[in-house]
Every structure is written in C-alpha cells, then in structure tokens.
C-alpha cells in the first residue's frame, strides 16, 4: 500500500482470529495506517487487500458494517446525550432506530455508563469518553473491533476497568478484537495473540506464549541457596548454566524441559541441593518485542 512516495504497508497479510490480538510496533511502523486502511479511510495507490472477503480498496460500506472502531483521539457528536450518541452510531451502522436505541441502553449499561447515559457527552470525563467510544464501536455488533490505544489518558483504576471490559468483550463475545497499543503490559493482559509491525511489514505474528518462548527450551531452577557443587555437576552432565536472579539459575541442554527436569532432580539429590522451583524460562514481552524489531 503506497501513499505518494511513502510505502505504508508492504506485502502485509495477517489473520485475526476470534479473541483478542495485539498490534505492536514502534511509532510510524504502520499500525494506525493498517487500521485506517482496513476501514477505507485511506485509499492506497497500489496494492490490494481483503477483510471478510471484501475488497478494502473499494471502500465497501458493507465492510464497515462488520467493523467497529474505537479511535485513539476523543471523538463524539456534539450536543448529544450519551444514549442519543450511541443510538445514532447504531443507526449510522444500519440498525433500525428502535433496535439502535434498545441496544444503546444495553451497551452503555455494559460499559459502565448506565447512570450517565442522559448526560451530554461533552460533559463526560476522560474515562467516560473512552468508555463511550467503546460503546459506539460495539453498538452494531461488529465482527471485528479495532481499538486504537484504548487506555490512553486513563488513570490506573480506569485503565483496569477498560482492560477488563476489552478482555470480556473479546473472550466469548463472538468477535475478533485488534488492540493497537504501545503499552505492552496492557497487550499482555488483554490479548492472546500479537502482530508485530515495523516499516509497514509484518515482523511476527502468533500467540504471546510463542513469542515469549526462548530457543533451546531453557529452564529456570530456583534453589534454596546457590551451590557451586550443583552447578559443576550440571555442567559435567552436559548442561549450560547461566546465573539468574537471586538464587535462580538458568539451565539449558539439548533436551526437552521434562528430561532436563529429571536430570536436574537427580543431580540435586546427589549434591544435596534443595530445589524450590522449576519452570520453563521465557522472556518478557518487551524483550521479545525488542528482539523481533532488531532481527
């Protein structure tokens, strides 16, 4: 997808299954462009794309009936009450007026704005504005929900509430949710899968667990206290030992985690070392993200 001399998205193809998918990438990577392109806000000079089998370059209206957008910036229709705004958004999406009003009440209740539904949207706080943006995106029952920085400007409690909302909507609601955010803990909390974009190209896609997995199945062994004899025995047994945090060591061998577990237990018994924990080592999402970008 090119705009003038700028290539926004290049050979980009991804699948967004039911559930929640995080969209990660540094500034200018093409995250927002991807969202805008999916909605047909920007018309590419070259290239093609499909969502739900519909051509995104034609700006088909039917496509936007299947998508809900919660934009990053504040947006509302001036002079309307909360329920009026959400019902109007429903009507704009093609809902019959009566259905739109009933659904607007439901969605506002769900988003925690039941008490404030008759207030003018312009009097809402930042947190309430974020919630009503989610409500207007959900009202027509989209199959794909695009959330651009959903926790922007929220206080810690508001952020927690918003993440809970997104999590429950995306799990069991029968819709796919794409969450674009710079806040990796938010993504980790809400999403099962991630897509990493850089310079308009897809760099990685998969579950968060896969992305965090380290090569060679290293395991972290937590000991009561560090024991040099234990480390030596592990090395003699053909394993690599790396120091970890406090009394934890990272052990790696050309074997499965289950086999390593058995060998570590045997050596611990012989060297009289107390093992308090054993888990497959993984990176943080931040480390994984940075590694993907540097690759």
């Amino acid at each position: 997808m090119r705009y003038g001399s700028f290539t926004a998205l290049n050979q980009f193809s991804c699948e967004i299954p039911e559930g929640s998918t995080g969209l990660l990438g540094p500034n200018g990577a093409g995250k927002t462009t991807l969202i805008k392109t999916l909605l047909g806000f920007v018309r590419p000079e070259t290239g093609a794309g499909e969502v739900f089998g519909l051509d995104i370059t034609k700006g088909e209206r039917r496509l936007r009936q299947l998508i809900g957008l919660m934009p990053e910036q504040d947006c509302h229709i001036p002079g309307m009450s909360g329920v009026g705004f959400v019902a109007f958004a429903g009507e704009l999406a093609g809902m019959p007026a009566a259905d739109a009003l009933r659904r607007a009440h439901e969605v506002l209740e769900y988003c925690g704005l039941g008490e404030a539904r008759y207030r003018n949207v312009e009097t809402y706080s930042t947190g309430m504005k974020q919630r009503i943006k989610l409500a207007q995106a959900l009202v027509h029952g989209p199959k794909l929900l695009l959330l651009d920085e959903p926790t922007n400007g929220l206080d810690p409690a508001g952020r927690e509430d918003m993440l809970d909302l997104v999590r429950t909507v995306s799990h069991g609601g029968g819709l796919s949710v794409l969450v674009s955010s710079h806040v990796l803990p938010d993504i980790e909390r809400v999403c099962d899968r991630v897509i990493v974009v850089m310079k308009g190209q897809l760099r990685a896609a998969g579950t968060i667990a896969e992305l965090k997995k380290l090569a060679g199945h290293p395991v972290d062994v937590e000991l009561k206290e560090l024991n040099p004899a234990f480390n030596r025995a592990l090395i003699e047994d053909g394993m690599t030992v790396l120091p970890g945090a406090r009394t934890t060591i990272r052990v790696q061998a050309n074997a499965s985690p289950a086999e390593i577990h058995l060998r570590v237990q045997r050596i611990a018994r012989t060297t009289k070392t107390q093992v308090r924990g054993f888990r497959v080592a993984e990176r943080s999402l931040e480390e994984a993200f940075l590694e993907v970008l540097q690759a």
């Binding site: 936007r64 957008l69 509302h76 093609g94 809902m95 609601g173």
Partner: protein, 319 residues
Amino acid sequence: MTPNPTGPIADLRYRNYDGKLLPPNQMWWVIARQSIAQALKKKSLWFLMAASGWYYIIMIIILFFVEQNAAGSEMAKVAMEQFLEGIVWKDQFLNGFVFAQLSLLLVTLMIGSGTIANDNRANALLVYLSKPCSKLDYLVGKWIGVFLPLFVLLGTPTLLFYVYGALTFSQYGFISADPWILPKMVVVVAISAAIHSSLIVGVSSLFNQGRLAGATYAGIYFLSNFFTVLMSFFFQFSKGKAPDAVQYLTYASIDGIQTGIAKAILNTKGSPPFGFMPRNPATPIPAPNLTVALLLTGLVCAVALFAAWRRVRAVEVIG
C-alpha cells in the same frame, strides 16, 4: 410463573448484537434527520420561524380589516376595491420573501454554522466515516439538514398567505393574475434555501468552531449586502440611467441574488410593500437575466460545496 428470588435482576454479561442491519443505502437521511432533530430543540428557532412570516401576517391583518370594513358601507367597499386594484399580488409574495431574509439568515447561522465545524472540533467525522456512511452521505445529510428547515421556514408563511388569498380574494385576481404563482414561489423558496445551505455548509467545513464559521458567514453576508445597497443608491441617484453593470451589481450579494432570482422567476420589478403608493416611488431595479443569475449562483454554491468535499475527511493523508 414464580420469579426466582435469588436470581440476578439483570444479566449484564456482554452479548453481541445479531439483529437486523439495514442495507447502508440511505445514511444521508439518518444524518439529515439527526441534524433537523437537533435544530428543532432550539427554542429560538421556533420564534424565528414564526417571525419570518411577519410581512404576510401584517398583510393578512390589513386585508382582513379592509374586507371587514367593506361589509359596513358601500363607500368602504369602493375604497377596498380601489385598494385591491392597486395591489400586485405577486409583488406581495416577493415582498414577503424579501422581508423574511433576515430571519432566514439568523436561522441559517443558528442551524448551519456549526453543522460541520462542530463535528471538526469533536472529531465526529471519525464516528461518521467509520460507519457505513460515505463522505457524500455525510455532506448530503448535512446539506439536507439545513435545507429542509429553511425551506419550511420560508415556505410555510408563503403557503398560508396563498391559502388565505385564494379563499378570500380570488375574485380580485389573486389566482387569475398569475395561476402559477404557487409553483413559482416553491421554486424561489427552494433556490433560496439551497443557496444558504450550500454556502453555510462550505463555510462551516473550513472551521473548527461554529461561532467562527457563523461570524465569517455573517460577515460575508453583511459586507456583500452593504455593497449592493450602495449600488442600489447609485442606481436610484442616476434615476435608472446607470450602466447595466451597476444594475447587475445591485444583486451581487447573498441577499441580493436571491431577490434578483425571485424577481426573474416571478417576472416582476417589485412594488412598495403593503400596497402603499408613495408620492415619489423609487425607480424599480429590473430583474437580472435568470439563466445568468442561476449559473453564477450555482457556480458559487458549487465552489462552497467543493471546499466542503475537500475538507471532509476522517484522517490526514500523508502526501
């Protein structure tokens, strides 16, 4: 059925909507309806709507009393007939239309100045355009949302006066003088509402605040009007012998062009209001050429709407 006392009073779990979605073909009407509903909430709009027909109301009152008085004596009846002979009915429609212009401007400012400017301020375009609603739907909806109230504002008093005149004064040439007066007035009113709607939608799209858009539109309206009033004075001063250019420049304003088109459609030069005949009547300014006036007005309106078309977008596109 016995209600379960331990059950929840409402199931607040999230459920996706799986009801009917209509084909997204008439989103412009959804937008227009919402714009009109918001406009009708303004109480001052109702006052201005009533006030816009003041010329017709006074004319009806005058005609009513003249007619009632005539029933009393033969002399009064003769006087009434003389009065009615001096009245050019289509000029009463023209005067009613011209004297409603200020109300029309105020209503245009009230409902039109923020129509796109307020949406720009609140990023509402993201909401509109992320739904199955095109830029054309949005602009047409906003245009109709201004046009219809203006059409009703001008059309209702005109229709009332026509009905009163047709029922009471048909024997005095109310209908026979120009049988097509009603359709002609519908066209005049529609053109006038269309001019205001197109210009205010264009101006509104250029701003992020309704007040600024309104001030700009009012500024253009009054400055151009001041210019045409000057031209009218010049025309009067020259006793109608001014060059044709001056004659046409008397219509070179938002207000003036509407009067000019109305004169051309009604085929009249106009006459003093309420049928009064002053001793030294002003030289009537002839109507402009209708085709030229419509073409020029259409061009200006098209430029305004094109500006709106260029300005309305959900996002800034990287060049």
